[in-house]
């Protein structure tokens, strides 16, 4: 028979309990494991994972409770939850008696337990404790998440674990182990409990008539068994870990007042070894987040730069832990400095030039003043002067802070220097001194290898301080009277052969090698060692006479110092000379008149005195006696031909040249005879005397056939049709000539004839080219005929016609 049941919990209560049970258990187990692992300094389960599970579940639980409260405001179905909670606050005096007696009753059954309602006082107390614990856990948990580093809430969160553990243990014992009460477990699953159980344990709720009836609440044997079980588990754990270990660990935790329980990780070695930082409160507050001023209390230099707002930290406003997070382990790097990305411009010392390429350690690794240990130092480095990092290689420069007046940050070497020798020193560099290596004048102070000290000042400013006298005392003047700083040798030698010297060099002497006069004492000897003083100034002391005594004057009457030859000769063929050179004679080579004695002989050796002045003494007569008068009537010294001819045809000749004849080549009329002598006189002067072929054509005679004479023959003069004033007569001008005698119709008639004759000749030409006959001679003959017909043309128009017809 089924036992009678009574509803104790609504469905909402059952569901709410179940959800809270799951979340609470997860939180409890994860939190417990975190604490245990901290105490025993192990990490069997990853801290971060465990912590994240714990935090996430905590947030879910808080959200769940808040949501339940929120829903319960609007939904009546959730009201029983509030009712249940309110019941936990209703306390009567009997309830406190109940709390005392329920314990006594286990051992002394005579002690009576006062009757209780739906919830007995133990259950009410449990509910209140849970409420309290939940409030503490959730409030502190939220603060832990939101405000890191507030150790007070951490302590509260951990401490709260103790009552939570106790009450959870009791709650689980009563509901799961203790037989008299475990009957009620069903109620937490279905909502219904056995009526018998309800009447016995909650008589005021179910059995109001007989409230004193109640059963045994706690089974003694169950307590004993449970105690044994828990102790056994503990012992086995201790045995597993090792007793010594447990002891020392617990001792250590106890010694530090349980600090390790909430310590999230080891401090970095600097902090760990610092006695001032022993307590958490050295850095942390209880309820605030970790404050920067506690850091700055020890790190005074940061405080200083932040107060003065200089350097990198001087530009920052955030909290120290924004960049420097602790509890990462002894060897952790909490600088969070990315040496490659760090912008040095944010510091007080901008990196310029070569400084940019350096390793950070090159400047930031400095020996500690007290311990002499090399330490990385970023803050408080001195950088005002170079020598704080660099050594001074110049022994005799005393102003050690003035490096930048010569050097730049781009580099040490010469081209990176800002040092200007001409401005920054008392010795101005000029000429070749500019190019010379610095070392030449500023040697290392020691000759040992690897020496770095350079002598810069007090090295003397006279030539002899650096140079030897190569002339070995020949000159008594100072070096600078001859030599310039631009170079030893020409052209930088000062003008010592100048106008006011004993032998000024003029003309070609200026270009001659020094050694040509100042003979070198030996083959490989230097010019500087040659003889300079006491040389003769006569020409003959250096030059020989190539004219072999032809001239009795001295050399200077013909030659100048600029050169021997050509334009540099003094004008001895000038206007007042015995034979002045005019016109083309001036351009003619000397050797054309002053014949060389041999093939390779020099002009200087030729004959100069006693030559004839007549044209014929040098020129042949190309006219072979045709012209009897003097050459000079037609020719001049300017040239033989063309524009240089004095001869004017219309003036000197009895034959006047018209426009037609003036443009033709001279050689068309002036032909050479058998002896190839060009004929000038006597020559015929009338048209027909030269153009005999045309006259023959007009009279009907030609080499290729005869015909009737042209009616114009003997009646019309050449010039009646040919205008001699025209260089080229156009067809229309010929046509006009026709019209000048005949009527106007002849203008067109002229062109009709020209066209038809042209056509005839064209056809004749075609016949020539298309001849099947391969006889080239015949073709040539025909072509020749056509050529003659063209020439006959209008001179005998009927003859031209006839000859064309003959070909056709």
């Amino acid at each position: 028979m089924k036992a009678a049941l009574v509803r104790r919990f609504t469905k909402i209560e059952v569901v709410y309990h179940a959800i809270q049970l799951i979340l609470y258990l997860i939180l409890f187990v994860s939190g417990g494991l975190l604490l245990l692992q901290r105490i025993f300094e192990t990490e069997k389960i990853d801290f971060t994972t465990l912590s994240n599970i714990h935090r996430l579940t905590g947030i879910v639980l808080i959200a769940f409770i808040l949501q339940t409260i929120l829903i319960s405001i609007f939904a009546t179905s959730f009201r029983p939850l509030w009712k249940t909670l309110l019941e936990a606050f209703k306390w009567k005096p009997e309830d406190f008696v109940w709390l005392v007696n329920v314990g006594l009753h286990t051992f002394v059954p005579k002690v009576t337990i006062p009757p209780s309602g739906r919830f007995n006082p133990g259950q009410k107390l449990h509910l209140l404790v849970i409420l309290f614990v939940l409030l503490i856990f959730s409030s502190t948990g939220i603060v832990i998440i939101l405000i890191p580093g507030a150790i007070g809430v951490w302590i509260a969160h951990v401490v709260c674990f103790v009552p939570a553990l106790m009450f959870l243990g009791l709650h689980l014992f009563l509901s799961l182990v203790n037989p008299p009460t475990s009957k009620a477990l069903k109620g937490m699953i279905t909502g219904y409990v056995p009526l018998d159980y309800a009447r016995e344990h909650h008589s005021l709720w179910q059995n109001g008539e007989n409230p004193n009836i109640h059963a045994n609440h706690v089974s003694l044997s169950a307590i004993i068994l449970t105690t044994f079980g828990v102790v056994a588990v503990l012992i086995s754990c201790v045995w597993y870990i090792g007793f010594g270990q447990v002891k020392s660990q617990i001792g250590k935790v106890a010694g530090n007042y349980g600090r390790e329980v909430i310590l999230p990780g080891m401090l970095v070695s600097g902090h760990a070894e610092e006695p001032k930082a022993k307590h958490c409160t050295a850095c942390h507050n209880f309820f605030n987040s970790q404050p920067s001023d506690k850091c700055l209390k020890c790190h005074e230099e940061i405080q200083t730069v932040m107060d003065n707002q200089h350097g990198y930290h001087g530009t920052l406003n955030g909290k120290c832990r924004t960049c420097h997070s602790e509890h990462k382990g002894l060897t952790a790097n909490i600088f969070s400095l990315d040496s490659k990305a760090f912008n040095h411009e944010n510091t007080r010392y901008s990196l310029l030039g070569k400084h940019r390429d350096l390793d950070c350690a090159k400047c930031h690794s400095v020996p500690d003043k007290k311990t002499k240990r090399v330490k990385t130092k970023y803050i408080g480095l001195e950088f005002e002067t170079c020598i704080q990092c660099h050594d001074n290689p110049h022994p005799n420069i005393k102003d050690k802070n003035d490096c930048l007046s010569c050097h730049t940050m781009r580099g040490w070497s010469k081209d990176k220097l800002v040092f200007d020798h001409n401005q920054d020193s008392q010795y101005k560099l000029e000429g070749q001194h500019i190019e010379v290596s610095c070392r030449k004048c500023h040697p290392y102070s020691s000759k040992e290898k690897g020496a770095t000290m350079v002598k810069l000042i007090n090295i003397g400013s006279e030539c002899v301080d650096c140079h030897d006298d190569i002339h070995k005392g020949q000159f008594k003047k100072t070096c600078k009277s001859c030599h310039l700083e631009d170079g030893w040798k020409a052209p930088w030698l000062a003008e010592f052969h100048g106008a006011d010297s004993t032998y000024p060099l003029k003309g070609a002497h200026g270009k001659v090698k020094c050694s040509d006069c100042h003979k070198l004492p030996g083959k490989d000897a230097k010019l500087a060692n040659a003889k300079f003083l006491g040389l003769s100034h006569e020409c003959s002391s250096c030059h020989e006479d190539p004219h072999e005594g032809q001239f009795k004057k001295n050399c200077q009457s013909c030659h100048v110092e600029d050169s021997w030859k050509g334009p540099w000769l003094v004008e001895f063929h000038g206007a007042d000379s015995s034979y002045p050179l005019k016109g083309a004679h001036d351009k003619v080579k000397c050797v054309d008149c002053h014949k060389l004695s041999g093939k390779d002989a020099k002009l200087a050796n030729a004959k100069f005195s006693g030559l004839s002045h007549k044209c014929s003494s040098c020129h042949d007569d190309p006219h072979k006696g045709q012209i009897t008068h003097s050459c000079r009537i037609c020719h001049q010294a300017q040239g033989w031909k063309d524009k240089d001819l004095l001869f004017v045809h219309n003036q000197h000749s009895s034959y006047k040249l018209d426009n037609l004849h003036i443009i033709i080549s001279c050689s068309l009329c002036h032909l050479p005879d058998e002896a190839k002598v060009v004929q000038y006189r006597p020559l015929p002067q009338k048209c027909d005397q030269c153009h005999t072929d045309i006259i023959d054509f007009m009279n009907g005679k030609s080499s290729i056939g005869n015909a009737a004479p042209d009616p114009h023959a003997g009646r019309v003069a050449c010039i009646d049709c040919h205008t001699v004033d025209l260089a080229k007569q156009h067809p229309y001008q010929y046509a006009r000539k026709c019209v000048s005698c005949h009527n106007l119709r002849y203008y067109d008639l002229y062109f009709d004839w020209e066209k038809s004759m042209g056509r005839g000749i064209e056809i004749a030409l075609k016949i020539t080219t298309t001849l099947n006959n391969n006889d080239d001679n015949e073709k040539e003959n025909l072509a020749n005929k056509i050529k003659i017909i063209r020439k006959i043309g209008f001179h005998n128009i009927q003859m031209s016609r006839k000859l064309i017809d003959e070909i056709r």
Binding site: H742, R745, L749, S756, G760, R801
Partner: protein, 309 residues
């Protein structure tokens, strides 16, 4: 009756210019005398003469054709050349055919005419009609102001009295007979040089003695220059000869007259040549002749002998 006869026999080929012009041979069937005169004249040889053929380089110059083979359009418009039977040169139809009619200067002389006729006397008696081709000579003629100025036709087409037609064939004989033609004054179609003109002497020669020099003066009575003409080489030669006591003739001078080189004697003008008096001469003879075209033959135009004063 006549209408009946000629109504059946239409001579439309005479007049249909669109198809064919009447050839001279066809005119000859009736106008035999005129045809014969024309056939001997230079007009008939205007195209076939070797001179024309040579001067046009074998008929290559179309601009000459309008005068040498004129189309029968007797109007004031410019002349045009003919495309057919060019060998007839300046033929009958060139002057006498107009708009399907035969045109002439005289009234019909017969009762019947086988072809339509029209009379334009003024046109045919006027120098202007010739001047359409003979432009240069006509120009000279126009410039002459003289009472004795003859037209071209008066000198170069002598008057004659005869019948216009002479029949040869059966058909033409019938027509001529039937038409009962009368004689009429008409012009010969010889178009040549006429030495004997009815009322004038073409040239006059005089001598003038001036000391040892004689001046021969030749007067040109013609209303155009000597020589005249527009094309070709027209040369007139004046030969001056002395007639000796013993009738031996000795040439003194021979002068060429050429219009183009300004040696021609203009219309109504004189020319004179001076020469020393020849020994033993009783008279001076002057012969004016022209060179026949294409040959060295001379054609005498004038000859006169004057005693030395």
């Amino acid at each position: 009756m006549s209408g009946l006869i000629f109504g059946c026999m239409k001579f439309d080929r005479l007049t249909n210019i669109n198809m064919v012009f009447p050839r001279a041979e066809f005119c000859k069937e009736c106008h035999i005398d005129i045809y014969n005169e024309w056939a001997e004249s230079l007009h008939a040889k205007a195209y076939t003469s070797s001179t024309y053929r040579q001067a046009t380089n074998d008929y290559q110059f179309p601009s000459c054709l309008a005068c040498h083979v004129p189309e029968p359009r007797i109007s004031d418009g410019p002349l045009k050349s003919r495309e057919i039977f060019r060998e007839e040169g300046v033929t009958c139809s060139s002057c006498h055919l107009e708009e399907s009619k035969m045109v002439g200067p005289i009234e019909p002389t017969s009762k019947l005419a086988p072809h339509p006729m029209s009379v334009q006397e003024d046109r045919y008696r006027n120098s202007k009609f010739c001047g359409r081709c003979h432009e240069g000579t006509f120009k000279e003629w126009k410039q002459v102001i003289s009472k004795e100025k003859h037209t071209c036709q008066e000198c170069h087409m002598p008057l004659v009295k005869r019948k216009l037609t002479q029949a040869t064939h059966l058909l033409s004989k019938i027509i001529v007979t039937v038409s009962m033609e009368k004689e009429a004054l008409q012009k010969k179609h010889t178009f040549g040089v006429h030495k004997k003109l009815p009322d004038m002497e073409a040239f006059a020669m005089n001598l003038k003695k001036d000391g040892e020099q004689i001046e021969l003066i030749l007067k040109n009575h013609l209303p155009h220059s000597l020589p005249t003409g527009d094309f070709g080489f027209r040369i007139v030669i004046v030969d001056i000869l002395s007639v000796q006591e013993n009738d031996i003739i000795i040439p003194i001078k021979s002068v060429e007259l050429i219009k183009e080189i300004n040696t021609a004697i203009p219309a109504k003008a004189t020319a004179s040549w001076k020469f020393p008096v020849p020994d033993n001469a009783k008279a001076i003879r002057c012969i004016v002749s022209r060179l026949s075209k294409g040959s060295e033959k001379r054609e005498n135009l004038y000859q006169k002998e004057v005693s030395i004063p």
